[in-house]
């Protein structure tokens, strides 16, 4: 059963269309990563899933229930923010248990949840401190702890690692990767970091201008990008593009690539009929047939 299903969601701010008919469906336990350049609508989509921004049209289903017009609290989700958004006046313990307290979980259960999460993230010794007394990495852990304590249906991570230094980011990435199978819950994760996307995801959605260009496994997105944008966006260093001309060559086809030398380079087209025209292998978005 789909843990999260987004159906033709549109979001407009005045005349500006930020999300244009976005549809995604992910299964329970899947790790979905939304990537795309700044302003592509990935954070807006995240907020729409969280219920922080009402959508203009379309439907969002969590665990089979239509939550499009439910409040954030009713959706049973937890979110880790880029800025951590820890409650400054509360200790780490209260930060973690606040959500449970709001849901009227008995005190003993709350304490148990805090201990469990603190053990999991190795922050037991920090429980009595205030967020201001913690380093960036520790705050990040607490923010994750706050999300984990509630055991929601879906976790939302909004660029959770982008405020950490390079070393810590790699460590936390590993930790999230290890955590995911242990928790077994559905995660939607926004990032603009290629490596994070490629290493963490079960499923990557590449977004641009409010559209989802491609939705597929990291391997698919990396090796069989649907168009030149996805091809150039994924991977670091990014893919090289070479202008070529497609020609008939005996029974099959060949690519003619101009070189500085007298003789052009002629490469045989490997298999099947070509989809693209001269000047690159751009194809229609949504076409998942393998490209050469």
């Amino acid at each position: 059963m789909a843990a999260l299903e987004i159906h033709n969601v549109r979001k407009e701010f005045g005349s500006e269309r930020v999300l244009k008919d976005v549809s995604i469906s992910i299964d329970s336990g899947e790790f979905l990563i939304l990537v795309g350049p700044s302003g592509c609508g990935k954070s807006t989509l995240m907020n729409a899933i969280a219920g922080l921004e009402p959508v203009t049209s379309g439907n969002i289903y969590i665990d089979g229930k239509d939550v499009t017009w439910r409040t954030p609290a009713e959706r049973d989700i937890a979110m880790v923010f880029q800025s951590y958004a820890l409650y400054p006046s509360m200790t780490v313990r209260h930060n973690i248990s606040f959500g449970l307290e709001m849901r009227k979980v008995p005190k003993a259960e709350r304490e148990a949840a805090v201990e469990r999460v603190a053990d999991l993230l190795q922050i037991s010794h920090l429980l009595e401190r205030k967020p201001a007394q913690l380093s960036g990495g520790k705050r990040q852990r607490v923010a994750m702890g706050r999300a984990l304590a509630r055991e929601p249906k879906v976790y939302l991570f909004d660029e959770p690692l982008s405020n950490l230094d390079a070393k810590l980011r790699v460590d936390m990435r590993t930790e999230i990767k290890k955590l995911h199978p242990r928790l077994g819950t559905t995660i939607v994760y926004v990032t603009h970091d290629q490596v994070e996307a490629m290493t963490l995801a079960d499923c990557i959605a590449v977004m641009r201008d409010g559209h989802i260009l491609q939705l597929g496994s990291p391997d698919e997105v990396y090796n069989n990008p649907v168009d030149m944008f996805v091809a150039g966006f994924m991977g670091s260093p990014s893919m090289n593009f070479i202008r070529a001309t497609l020609e008939a060559d005996g029974d099959g086809y060949a690519l003619r690539i101009a070189t500085p030398d007298e003789v052009d380079l002629l490469l045989p087209w490997p298999n099947g009929p070509p989809y693209g025209r001269a000047g690159g292998a751009a194809r229609q978005a949504g076409d998942s047939r393998p490209a050469a």
Binding site: A50, G51, L52, T71, P72, A73, I77, A78, M79, F81, Q82, S83, A85, Y87, P88, S89, M90, F98, G99, M102, R103, R146, R150
Partner: protein
């Protein structure tokens, strides 16, 4: 004619100032919170209109206010004076709190919403605990304004509900031939004392609060 000095009026002032300060600060805090963290269509316009309140000279509203207090049956009462001060104070306190809460990240409120807290719960548990600097500013400002007010006091109070500023004026203007400068001065000192005390006790927070958010870090 009684001769009980300014003592009674001094307590009158407290009875007016303390509720007025508390109410206007509380309402200002809620306004500022709603205008920044629960924006609605036209919230900027509402804020702009409230700002007008900061620029309206007191004299302009004397007559309409007297009329309103009459309708409400609050003429010449302490409650009436409190109401007038609260209404005027809200413009300033809303401005203070709005500008303070604008600097508090919205993610904090989003996180609390996801955690299941509602409008008042978020205000009470998340925002109010970090609002100490701006509460101090609001309280000092309102206390000074309302304590030192003369115009509303003289216009909307009866003999037994006069604030100390009005009593001081009456005392100084009442002469029996000889000016009692010592008594005048003493009364003036007494009338000025509470604001002085408030500044001494909370002054350092005042400056801290006024400059809060102006510098990053």
């Amino acid at each position: 004619m009684r001769c009980e000095g300014v003592g009674g009026y001094f307590w009158n002032s407290f009875a007016i100032v303390i509720p007025a300060v508390l109410i206007s600060t509380a309402v200002g805090a809620l306004n500022g919170y709603a205008l920044t963290k629960w924006r609605f269509k036209g919230s900027e316009l509402v804020f702009a209109l409230m700002l007008f309140g900061c620029f309206i000279p007191f004299q302009v509203v004397l007559l309409p206010m007297a009329q309103t207090l009459g309708w409400l049956g609050l003429s010449s009462s302490r409650a009436g004076l409190i109401l007038v001060h609260v209404v005027f104070g809200i413009a300033f306190t809303t401005l203070f709190f709005r500008n303070f809460y604008v600097g508090i990240p919205n993610e904090l409120v989003s996180a609390a919403k996801l955690d299941g807290a509602g409008f008042f719960r978020i205000f009470w548990r998340i925002l109010l605990p970090v609002s100490a600097p701006i509460i101090v500013v609001s309280v000092i400002w309102q206390f000074t304004q309302i304590w030192n007010d003369f115009l509303f006091g003289v216009a909307f109070s009866a003999h037994d509900t006069q604030p100390v500023t009005v009593a001081l004026n009456n005392l100084v203007n009442t002469s029996t031939g000889v000016r009692e400068y010592n008594a005048d001065m003493a009364a003036a000192m007494i009338a000025a004392l509470p604001t002085l005390v408030v500044y001494v006790l909370a002054g350092k927070y005042f400056v801290r609060g006024l400059t809060a958010g102006s510098v990053k870090g």
